[in-house]
Subunit: 276 residues, 2 copies
DNA sequence: TCCTTTATAGTCGTTCTGACCATAAAGGAG
DNA sequence: CTCCTTTATGGTCAGAACGACTATAAAGGA
């Protein structure tokens, strides 16, 4: 896994080749301001390569209280000061976008255990006028996890909160578009992957699994048919050994299941109506 | 559609806001070195934002001679001089990644008519060591089109050629991974979208459409069943008015069809065996 | 002790799918 | 001109999957 700079014709000073070999900058994981000397070789003019700032933005979903909720942060600065936005931040010189996404999320929410969080690259937003201040390219991620703790709003975020999807006004920048794209992607992936289990704790009932589908898709599903489909799909879920059952609810106790080893669903579990 | 720089804490000089308005660099379509003054405001320290070079890489597929072919260019410089690579290049300061992708492709292949080409963002590759020279983030695209003209190999590319998928050795950088990801994505999208028609000219036979599926998936399909599925999907294809038929081939002349207006396929046309 | 709620099992008719077989219409070989 | 091969197209048929239901079980609450 190396990488591009395609067939670059841009005159690259010979001294550059040796630069990124030094891993001196890799350690700067918690710094918010990148080490200025880390990736910039002596005598290298970064403007020759049209420098961009690279950020990550995260559309983090969870299912809480039977509703699809999104993690938002309140901006403390212009532009869009006071407006809600998706969490995110700058990619540091020694980070991949994936690494930066997890770091930023941890910083801004104070949630330390992100192990159960499913992170997935959505797409990159690179319109030249995305940010009124400067040229910023943002790698967007869709993330989903089980009912996570209340965010603390640390790091660069003034505040951080779970908000029910659709109950807030326009977000900062192009975050409305990113969020809508993320929602569409998640909904589509539920059809042909076992992604839904990422919304749930390690052990769950089929009723809870169904609620994930219903919440994300916004449609009601027939319970017996849903159950039949899920159980008919090999390795989608497997019963918890010992016949453990969840009680305490209103009705008959439900059997507990764990996520299986399947990555894809065959056949897919299609949404009732058309794909869009 | 604006954009991120999330809740930026990095002190941004006020003078920056006016910067990207200047479209001075947009014209530099054939320039290999971007205008250095275009996006860099006075008094702005780019290192505070960890400048990255941003490139695009394209995995361009077509079906030729019954085989899936990929467009490759030969690198003329180190690193990986003489190695085959995916076409691509630097994003200019006033371009989106999509715009840069089409420009680079036109430059490096000499193919002027890219209108029939379907371009789709794949994902962004941002591992810190992707490029041995410097920090480069690459937005990868999957592209597919009907049998395109022979590439001329202009622009930054020493040579450009169609090569049957799988008939070449290791590509430069992480382009092997990008290409594999693109192939997987295309194969998956054939299942639930009408993307296959992008591989074909405006008018085509069902046999040609089936060959696209067979070529991309690498599996044989039952002809009557394929036909039944395709015709049963509303708006996937529509017959050419007047009952035009393609003759000149070996067997019975085939009816001609055009791409319909459907974007998604319901129900999907699943690959014979599991999804991966 | 009902009543409500949720889980789970099963039925039934329709639709879809995969594996076939059959026929039509072209070009090529002899 | 006559087979033969090739490709297109039209069917059949049994099994699988699906959607809409009905029925029963097991909990808590009134």
């Amino acid at each position: 896994m190396n990488s591009p700079v395609p067939e670059g014709d841009m005159t690259v000073p010979e001294g550059i080749a040796a630069v990124s070999d030094g891993d001196a900058a890799v350690s700067g994981r918690t710094a918010t301001v990148p080490d200025r000397t880390a990736t910039v070789p002596e005598g290298y003019d970064p403007y020759a390569f049209a420098p961009f700032a690279v950020t990550v933005d995260l559309a983090v979903f969870t299912v809480r209280d039977g509703a699809l909720q999104v993690l938002l942060v309140e901006r403390g600065q212009e532009p869009y000061a006071g407006r809600w936005a998706l969490p995110g931040g700058f990619v540091l010189p020694a980070e991949s976008a994936e690494t930066a996404a997890r770091r930023e999320l941890a910083e801004e929410t104070g949630i330390s255990d992100l192990s159960g969080l499913h992170l997935e690259q959505l797409r990159t937003y690179s319109e030249p006028d995305r940010d009124p201040r400067m040229r910023v390219v943002s790698v967007a991620f869709a993330a989903l996890g089980p009912d996570l703790p209340e965010p603390r709003g640390g790091g660069d975020a003034a505040r951080a909160e779970w908000r029910p999807y659709g109950t807030f006004g326009a977000l900062a920048f192009d975050h409305d578009v990113i969020l809508a794209d993320a929602h569409e992607r998640i909904g589509a992936k539920l059809e042909y992957s076992c992604l839904a289990t990422s919304f749930l704790p390690p052990e769950f009932t089929l009723g809870e699994l169904q609620q994930v589908y219903e919440t994300v898709w916004g449609t009601a599903l027939d319970r017996p048919n849903f159950r039949r489909k899920v159980l008919a799909t090999p390795k989608f879920v497997e019963p918890v050994p010992g016949g453990a059952r969840l009680t305490g609810g209103r009705g008959k106790p439900a059997a507990l299941y764990r996520a299986g080893t399947a990555g894809a669903l065959h056949p897919p579990l299609l949404r009732p109506e058309g794909r869009l």
